[in-house]
Subunit: 132 residues, 2 copies
DNA sequence: GTCCCTGCAAACTCTTTGCATAAAA
DNA sequence: TTTTATGCAAAGAGTTTGCAGGGAC
């Protein structure tokens, strides 16, 4: 059995979590790094990655895999979904879906014990439509 | 307006497509590369990537982003979904879902013109449960 | 004092790209 | 002959990791 390490409270980790919770736009590790740098100029990208990994494994934050290439992070762990603009890449939250969709985690799939479902929508946001 | 280049039929592209359609397990570019190498020993990974990109942009194949890190490819473009085993990483097809889920693409989301939805399930496959 | 966490830099993985040559039309 | 596609190798982006020193408890 794997022994779980006891985590210490580091100032860096607190600041990373605070800054992630402040922003709405689901930043990448690098974007978050720049934000955290304003408060902790000496922090390194490695620390950002290590803490984002630790926090998402603990379920304190959510790691999103919306756009293939780059991981994005969400400080909000309430059950919700995301929609990504295929033009500008912005990612918005979706809270209101029909009941059938909200209950999607209980879907039965032959041969599997289902643990969950990731669902991401794609489309064009209103800003991009206006700027055509 | 962007001018669309006319694609020539290359032998490499044909073989890549044939091999992708043969396998059921949604290979990565590297896995497919190894398969294609058996028939075309001198092919390069770059050619694999270039053709997978071209074919998925044309809609001939599907690029999957199921597991974050590495892209996987599916030669089957029928409307279907995927479930990924969180233990061993295998990816299976899902063809039968309830009507509400099948119609998910027509979901309305405020502020957006929805183009589509990517939906991936996660769970433990039967092989992994048996081997516990 | 112990052991986890950090900063730094190097390494790693996956993917893309530049270039000269080969192949398709 | 013209233009696209290939093989090769190098470069790029994003992420992970080894290590010595610093910090939490």
């Amino acid at each position: 059995m794997l022994e779980q390490k006891v985590n210490r409270n580091s100032h860096q980790r607190e600041v990373i979590l605070e800054e992630l919770r402040k922003v709405k736009l689901h930043p990448t590790a690098t974007t978050l790094y720049k934000l955290v740098c304003k408060r902790l100029p000496k922090i390194s990208l490695g620390t950002i990655y290590r803490n984002l990994d630790l926090l998402s494994k603990r379920g304190v934050i959510q790691k999103l895999e919306v756009n293939g290439s780059t991981a994005r992070y969400d400080g909000n762990t309430d059950r919700h979904y995301h929609i990504c603009c295929t033009n500008c890449g912005r990612i918005d939250d979706i809270y209101h879906l029909s009941k059938e969709l909200i209950n999607i985690d209980s879907t039965k799939i032959e041969g599997y014990v289902v643990e969950g479902c990731h669902m991401n929508f794609y489309g064009i946001c209103s800003d991009c439509r206006e700027n055509q």
